[in-house]
């Protein structure tokens, strides 16, 4: 028999997880779709299910010197309405699904789902955001980029639950573009986030991430390092080299949504435009 748990506290949840191998279900906007079978039939879960929705203590947005802490049951719509959430995250979330879905869905779910097309994963990577995983054994912090190791694959231990996501403070100029197949309710074909900081004429920080062009978000700190410290002019002059570096890093596929040629070209175009727009 499949069991369903609706814990009311984090402690209760971790205790359940220490005893039972569960699906963790937050908004269910990924999980229910994956388990959908046929009209008028309920989805089937082959393991126990733990619902996080009633863990009210994890429904929060808090700010401290580490950054913004987003509790794992916090809905997107709440994030959208909160001035504490960095603008670039709100800009990303605004383009996810539609209000109905955003009233259910969570960022923890976006991370837990570990899809190459998860939209928040792109800014989370650029910010070096991390998770706090909780279990009866204690807590550990993991970078979002380390947590996800493949398509639908994470390093979560069976007894762990994402308690919160921490978005460190980051004061950069951003350029985000989601390229979907339409303006709403659309899965990204390519997404792009470029960020930089100019001090005087020097590129003090430079970060780039792409979504939907590889099994994981593509970000490469080695490549970024190569260009940090250049003057603006040097940086802009090396546009072709930068684009070529990233072009080699991404490996998109052709599927029923788009082609690898399109994804590759648009990713490069977005990066070029980002560089062109540096002022």
């Amino acid at each position: 028999m499949i069991k369903y748990f609706v814990p009311k506290s984090l402690k209760e949840a971790t205790e359940i997880l220490s005893q039972n191998d569960c699906y963790i279900l937050a908004g269910g906007t990924d999980l229910m779709v994956q388990k959908h079978r046929s009209a008028s039939l309920l989805p089937t879960f082959e393991k126990d299910v733990l619902f996080t929705n009633e863990i009210k203590e994890l429904d929060y947005i808090k700010v401290d010197k580490e950054g913004v802490h987003v509790g794992s049951v916090t809905k997107y719509e709440k994030m959208l309405k909160s001035a504490q959430i960095p603008d670039i995250f709100r800009k990303t979330i605004e383009q996810i699904a539609s209000p109905g879905i955003r009233n259910m869905a969570t960022m923890a779910g976006n991370i837990g789902n570990a899809s190459p097309a998860g939209d928040t994963l792109v800014p989370l990577n650029v910010f070096d955001a991390y998770l706090v995983l909780s279990s009866t054994r204690g807590e550990r912090k993991v970078l979002v980029s380390d947590y996800i190791i493949g398509v639908r694959k994470t390093i979560r231990e069976k007894d762990e639950i994402i308690k919160e996501i921490v978005i460190p403070n980051l004061d950069l100029e951003f350029d985000y573009e989601k390229v979907g197949s339409r303006k709403a309710e659309s899965i990204s074909k390519v997404s792009f986030l470029g960020a930089y900081k100019l001090e005087g004429n020097i590129i003090k920080d430079f970060r780039v991430a792409f979504g939907s062009v590889s099994i994981k978000v593509v970000r490469d700190k080695e490549v970024e390092k190569k260009y940090i410290g250049l003057t603006k002019e040097e940086f802009i002059n090396r546009k072709e080299e930068i684009v070529s570096d990233y072009s080699k890093l991404i490996s998109p596929i052709t599927d029923h949504r788009s082609t690898k040629e399109y994804r590759q070209k648009v990713a490069c175009n977005l990066l070029s435009r980002f560089i062109d727009n540096i002022k």
Binding site: K183, K189, H256, V266
Partner: protein, 699 residues
């Protein structure tokens, strides 16, 4: 009857729909109903050698061709579509049989245990085997031989899914009271289903009844396919004598039910040495899929519409519908004309460019005028106000200024205008020879009037408008008129809900019947009238030769679409649309505007978002997360104006509005887009992936 005003009333189904009270097929509960799920072919073309049926538990059944008492054929205009694939299968997803039983889950599990052995045959996916060929000419096409130059182009359009909100579904049971086999389904044409069942069971008419519940959209997709489901479920209930429900999942509905015909249209303009146009040759090719079904009629309409709003002295029109091993293509809003009109609208602009003359002056020279001879040598009789329509559309959109401005290099913006027409009602003499609608209206002792049609309101509002026609004609209070959804045991056939015929034909019939009742009205007495359809006497049509007057009347329109283009992502944004329509007299303006916005939205979707790709006969896009219909966020502000031009034979002067609003969207979009990228377009949907290729071969 003199037209009143363009007033709008509350739709009769507003409240039940808003409150969620309307019962759609799947909402209707019949105690103990079994479920049916479909065993589908995995091969595009193969012999079926053996079907290994798993051991079925008690109360579970497998229904296949063997169980059909009558003929294994579902007539959709012609007799080529089998109810169940028997010895051979012709497309992936074709029904081989049904698994029926009390628990849907169990039925689905059993489905996985079937083993079908095939012997694969060579499938055909390209348009090369024509199964319907038509051709006709107007004027003297021998003159083409003397031409000095020929300008030729080829245009392609893709599949389109109807994307109704409510998927296909059907419920069958025996009515306890009258014993009839009763069908409730999401459908357009109750009598089509009724007939399909008679054929498959060898039953007389009186043993069956088809009743329409609330229907959530159709767009042509529920014109024919429900007949197939009806024949299948009738076979099943005849064997097991138990109520059965079959509801398709979206992932079953999208890839396995009928679609809009993909097309390829070749047009050649023959010119003399002074660049005068001698005439045109137009060859329309449509992909009909595995069975002909209604493809021959779709082809007819495509051909008749091929010269669009232009009169050419000499034309040669050729059409082919092709057999391919793919899901049969069938009815969809516009019924072939959007494909050929798309080609013609682009071609005539390109031709003007080729000749180096002003597009608008050139088109104007050929615009249809009242009294002109149609391409099928009929006559455009009604008053044509095309020039007013164009003028108004241009003025509303500030067209001339924008057209000039956006033609500058790197504008990344464009504006396009299309003109178009739609013949209302069945093609040719179909209304009087095939359909022969008869409408019954009766009055009881309390002077309460009831009238009956077989017209389905699937959201487009005809329950409201038809009722209004009768109420207004009789001049009695609205609640003295009863007009229920069709039930084939109560109504005579007033024909299918298709071909933009409901208001022009059935509305006209309802008005006439009501007037006759009014003429003989005796208060307190039971009275009944059966009003037969009598077409305008001028309609003479030869379907074999494709000669004569093709339609009783035409509705007209112009669409203006403005787009912007992002050269970084190759995405297009529709910025604004303006439309002007002549639908005769709009009985209810709001309902017409609803059709206008919806029709254009659907056409825009077809133009740049909705891609359905068949790879080796298998559709790739199966759900709304990958088959991309426009959302409200994708749609711009849409401005629509109506030009009042009452039509003599329509109810209260009305012509058709349902399909007209679809046909001009794609060419207007494509013309706007061409201006934005400064390159000609020959193919839709213009997805960003295709646009990338278009733009690329420049650099």
């Amino acid at each position: 009857m003199i037209p009143k005003y363009l007033t709008s009333v509350k739709k009769v189904d507003n409240e039940e729909k808003m409150a969620g009270l309307a019962l759609f097929t799947d909402d209707i509960q019949v105690e103990g109903a079994y479920f049916a799920v479909t065993l589908r072919s995995e091969k595009a073309h193969a012999k079926i050698l053996d079907i290994k049926v798993p051991t079925l538990p008690k109360d579970y059944y497998f229904i296949s061709a063997k169980d059909i008492p009558g003929e294994n054929v579902c007539n959709i205009i012609v007799d080529d579509w089998p109810v169940f694939a028997d010895k051979e299968t012709n497309y992936i997803g074709e029904s081989i049989g049904l698994v029926v039983g009390p628990d849907k889950e169990k039925c689905l599990d059993l489905l996985n245990e079937f083993e079908v052995t095939y012997e694969e045959l060579e499938p055909v996916f390209e348009m090369k085997d024509s199964y319907v060929h038509k051709e006709f000419t107007k004027g003297n096409v021998d003159l083409f031989k003397s031409s000095a130059k020929v300008f030729s182009e080829s245009f392609e359009t893709g599949y389109q899914e109807q994307a109704y909100l409510e998927p296909q579904g059907m419920l069958v049971y025996f009515d306890k009271d009258d014993g009839r086999l009763t069908v409730k389904a999401s459908m357009q044409c109750p009598f089509y289903i009724h007939k399909a069942i008679m054929r498959v069971l060898n039953w007389p008419e009186e043993k069956i009844k088809v009743i329409q519940p609330a229907v959530g959209g159709a767009f042509g997709g529920k014109e024919h396919y429900p007949s197939l489901m009806g024949a299948q479920l009738a076979t099943a209930i005849n064997k097991i004598h138990h109520p059965i429900k079959m509801i398709f999942d979206r992932k079953e509905d999208v890839p396995f039910t009928t679609k809009r015909h993909p097309s390829k249209t070749d047009i050649s303009a023959y010119l003399d040495d002074k660049n005068n146009l001698i005439g045109l040759k137009i060859h329309v090719n449509i992909d009909g899929g595995a069975y002909i079904g209604c493809s021959m009629v779709v082809l007819s309409r495509a051909l008749i519409a091929a010269t669009n709003t232009y009169t050419f002295e000499n034309v040669e029109i050729i059409g082919d519908a092709y057999h391919t091993n793919k899901v049969p293509s069938a009815a969809f809003r516009g019924f072939g004309s959007p494909q050929s009109i798309f080609a013609m609208e682009l071609f005539i602009n390109h031709l003007a460019d080729y000749l180096g003359v002003d597009r608008f002056v050139f088109k104007n020279k050929y615009h249809v005028k009242t009294g002109d001879v149609t391409s099928t040598s009929g006559i455009f009789r009604d008053e044509i106000v095309l020039d007013k329509i164009i003028e108004k559309a241009k003025k509303m959109s500030d067209f001339d200024r924008k057209f000039k401005e956006y033609s500058k290099p790197n504008s990344n913006r464009g504006i396009g205008i299309s003109t178009f027409l739609h013949g209302c009602g069945f093609t040719g003499s179909g209304e009087s020879t095939i359909i022969n609608a008869q409408l019954k209206i009766k009055k009881d002792k309390n002077d309460i009037v009831t009238f009956y049609t077989s017209q389905v309101d699937f959201g487009q509002g005809n329950r409201t408008t038809l009722k209004r026609i009768v109420v207004d004609t009789l001049g009695i209070p609205e609640d003295h008129v009863i007009y229920d959804a069709p039930d084939t045991s109560k109504t005579l056939s007033t024909g299918p809900t298709a071909a933009s015929r409901t208001i022009i034909i059935v509305g006209g019939l309802a008005a006439k019947a009501a007037q006759h009742l009014k003429d003989i009205w005796v208060s307190g007495k039971e009275q009944e009238i059966v009003e037969p359809y009598v077409g305008p006497s001028y309609i003479k049509w030869d379907e074999d030769k494709m000669q004569g007057d093709a339609y009783p009347g035409y509705a007209w329109g112009a669409n203006v679409v403005e787009v912007s283009f992002d050269p970084v992502t190759y995405q297009v944004k529709v910025e604004h649309t303006w439309s002007v329509y002549d639908v005769g007299h709009a009985i209810d303006e709001r309902i017409v505007i609803g059709q206008a916005d919806g029709g254009l939205a659907q056409a825009l979707g077809w133009s740049y978002l909705e891609k359905e790709e068949a790879v080796d006969g298998r559709f790739m896009q199966k759900k709304f997360s990958d088959y991309i219909v426009p959302t409200s966020m994708d749609l711009p502000e849409m401005e629509t104006a109506l030009i009042d031009n009452p039509f003599k034979y329509g109810a209260f002067g009305a012509k058709g509005a349902g399909e007209l609003t679809f046909v001009g969207g794609a060419p207007a979009f494509a013309l706007a887009f061409e201006q934005a990228i400064k390159k000609p377009v020959h193919k839709i949907p213009l997805t960003p992936e295709l646009i990338m290729e278009l733009v690329k071969d420049e650099d």
